[in-house]
């Protein structure tokens, strides 16, 4: 497991974008599709912005990229501004040259959620598995909508959101709790674990405890992202603020490796 510690959120976004861009470029050079798992939310926004800049300046193309998003609300219209379809389209897909046929987002408006989720897993397999799954984490250490208590062996399925998440999301729905979706389709922890690589972005002091639990405590289904400790190639990219609850020893160790880690994003 790697921990990259960057100065601030912008530097985290830049590191993540460079890492992704380099991976895509390497795969494209070999004429191979690169399969990305993608998150929504404020943390990855900066990364998407940088990737769009790279695309606009001709550094990368997304023609040989397939994407699978982590989750989507159940029952929220696709065109609702808070849907993850809208988020991905407005903040990323509309600005780049990805073929819409290669974009996959769970459909939260089907009549048969079980079927939708099973098909999603099948499509990931069909694409050859996910090369790099990028995720954020919640203050309680959840990855995708795998809230505390989710099985670490879980796969794509319907989940009921916990009260904290619903309340936190109310701000996106005019503060009206009754308008916040209470269910979501989400990839499981095991779905993320199956990816060849995982990169977790984490910024801000309010996520510091989550990072501490994720990497300094044991694996626990009460902090689902801690499962990444068992992943053979997982990278956490954090800003200084997110490291506030880590041991000095941990921080010093990983900072000592930064010269090496910088090489990962050279291009």
């Amino acid at each position: 497991m790697k921990l990259i510690i960057e100065e601030n959120a912008d530097c985290v976004a830049d590191f993540a974008a460079r890492y992704v861009a380099r991976k895509i470029a390497e795969a494209t050079d070999r004429d191979k599709f690169f399969v990305l798992g993608l998150p929504t939310g404020s943390t990855p926004l900066g990364m998407y912005k940088r990737l769009i800049e790279f695309y606009n300046s001709g550094v990368i193309s997304f023609r040989k990229v397939k994407t699978f998003n982590m989750d989507e609300y159940v029952g929220l219209p696709r065109d609702h501004p808070e849907s993850y379809h809208s988020f991905m389209f407005d903040n990323f897909f509309r600005h780049i040259d990805i073929d819409p046929k290669n974009v996959h987002i769970l459909d939260g408006n089907t009549s048969n959620h079980e079927k939708e989720c099973a098909e999603y897993e099948a499509k990931i397999l069909e694409a050859g598995g996910i090369d790099l799954f990028i995720g954020g984490i919640g203050p309680d250490g959840h990855i995708a909508f795998n809230e505390p208590g989710s099985s670490l062996a879980s796969r794509t399925r319907i989940k009921t959101l916990n009260e904290d998440t619903i309340q936190a999301n109310a701000r996106f729905f005019g503060g009206d709790l009754s308008k916040v979706p209470t269910q979501a389709l989400t990839v499981g922890v095991q779905t993320v674990m199956d990816a060849r690589e995982v990169m977790i972005l984490i910024t801000g002091s309010h996520k510091a405890l989550a990072l501490h639990q994720a990497i300094e405590c044991g694996i626990s289904h009460m902090c689902t992202v801690s499962a990444m400790q068992m992943h053979k190639c997982a990278t956490f990219v954090a800003d200084e603020d997110a490291t506030l609850e880590l041991k000095v020893k941990t921080v010093k160790y990983f900072k000592g490796l930064m010269a090496l880690h910088r090489k990962l994003v050279e291009f």
Partner: protein, 418 residues
């Protein structure tokens, strides 16, 4: 099919798109409700598409990407008051219908170079015979490579106040609508089908009833060329008038105890649900910059740019016609023969937009909206024109920050290139 990416000025755009071809305009600042956005505009079969549906449902990439070189992409300009241009005067009927239509077409075609994609040909105070002959020829049309679309005629007169006639011929002014205004209107204009806007002086006998009648016939009524007091103006608005014609011009000056029509800008009787618009000639001559600023600061939402341009628009200095009147043009000034009376303008719409920004310090978005979305709202045609929303006709312009028109597109096809 492999996607092609071409520059907006490519020769490949000389021909029209084939049916169902999916066209994406990229690398542009698009005028949206929330300002200029670095977004794309998708067009198919001449209409603006919902790109999200194309992406998630049709899962299609555009067949053609058009690189707009970072220019501003604005809806095509709409001019609600244009007397003519390029040597043609809409109030003059010379010999036959074909000749008149040719003139109309010529202006419509030339307007594309000004980024104007819709306009209301304006006929000043004329004889009933002229209205009867000319009106049927001013048929509504959509913009195409043939020229800017016609929104219907703007009839400025003859029911106006003689004292405020400006350069309109005095002998043709009709000072009363009589006891049966509807009948008078039909007698003077003939069929009202092709009328978009009528400028009327609300203080005339029978004017209020005339306004109601015109509104019921589907016309937009504008008050102007008038000595009306504020109260009369307010009554006109209650009767259905929605606009003031070339604010400050051909109306009583503002007096703090007797505000006249200009007072409508701050009238407490006008509801925000049905706002009042006013045309304004922002050429630095018809309206002093200080007056532009007063209008902008007191009632920004109602401001609609009109050129009020005459036959001399796009022509050189010299002697030109406006109806039966002779006009002398020097630079941007047009004066009635032998007088100091300002006649219509010779400023183009891009010039007026540019000048409004310079004079008032308003945003480029505001100025553009005053020549696109607002006039469309006034005429109730925003479902088709004046915005770049999904489903609208793809009439738009590519301009730089200086409002220099680089290209004009009608129904998605390029119809003008600088």
């Amino acid at each position: 099919m492999e996607q092609t990416r071409i520059k907006f000025d490519s020769d490949l755009l000389n021909k029209q798109f084939v049916e169902n071809q999916l066209v994406q305009f990229v690398n542009c600042s698009v005028l949206r409700e929330n300002g200029l956005r670095k977004e794309h505009v998708w067009v198919r079969n001449g209409r603006i598409l919902d790109e999200k549906s194309v992406f998630f449902e049709e899962k299609k990439l555009a067949d053609v990407q058009i690189d707009c070189s970072g220019l501003i992409l604005s809806p095509g300009f709409i001019d609600l008051q244009l007397n003519g241009g390029f040597g043609i005067d809409f109030s003059t009927y010379n010999s036959n219908d074909e000749d008149y239509k040719r003139g109309l077409k010529l202006v419509a075609k030339q307007l594309l170079s000004h980024g104007v994609t819709s306009f209301a040909p304006t006929v000043i105070t004329s004889t009933p015979a002229t209205y009867h002959t000319v009106l049927p020829l001013v048929e509504r049309s959509n913009a195409s490579e043939e020229g800017a679309g016609i929104l219907g005629a703007h009839l400025e007169g003859p029911f106006i106040c003689s004292d405020k006639r400006g350069c309109h011929p005095e002998q043709l002014v009709v000072k009363s609508l009589g006891s049966n205004p509807a009948e008078t209107i039909e007698q003077v204009y003939g069929n009202t089908k092709n009328i978009a806007i009528v400028t009327i002086a609300p203080e005339l006998e029978g004017a209020q009833e005339a306004i109601k009648y015109l509104v019921s016939a589907g016309a937009t009524v504008s008050v102007g060329h008038s000595s009306a007091k504020l109260e009369t103006g307010e009554t006109a608005v209650m009767s259905g008038a929605r606009m003031i014609t070339h604010l400050f011009n051909a109306m009583q000056s503002y007096h703090h105890r007797d505000p006249g029509l200009i007072g409508l800008l701050t009238s407490s009787k006008i509801s925000s649900a049905q706002p009042l618009f006013y045309g304004i000639i922002s050429d630095g001559i018809h309206t002093h910059d200080s007056a532009l600023r007063i209008a902008y600061h007191t009632n920004a939402e109602g401001l609609v740019l009109v050129t009020d341009a005459i036959a001399a628009l796009g022509m050189s200095d010299g002697v030109h016609k406006l109806g039966t009147q002779t006009i002398h043009v020097t630079g941007l000034e047009a004066k009635l023969d032998g007088t100091n009376t300002t006649a219509g303008s010779v400023a183009s719409m891009p010039y007026c937009i540019r000048h409004l920004i310079k004079a008032t310090g308003c945003s480029i978005e505001f100025a553009l909206r005053s020549a696109t979305h607002k006039p469309a709202t006034l005429l109730g045609i925003t479902g088709e024109k004046g915005t770049l929303d999904v489903g609208r006709i793809a009439d738009f312009v590519l301009i730089d920050e200086n409002i220099d028109v680089k290209a004009t597109f009608c129904s998605g096809s390029r119809v003008f290139l600088q």
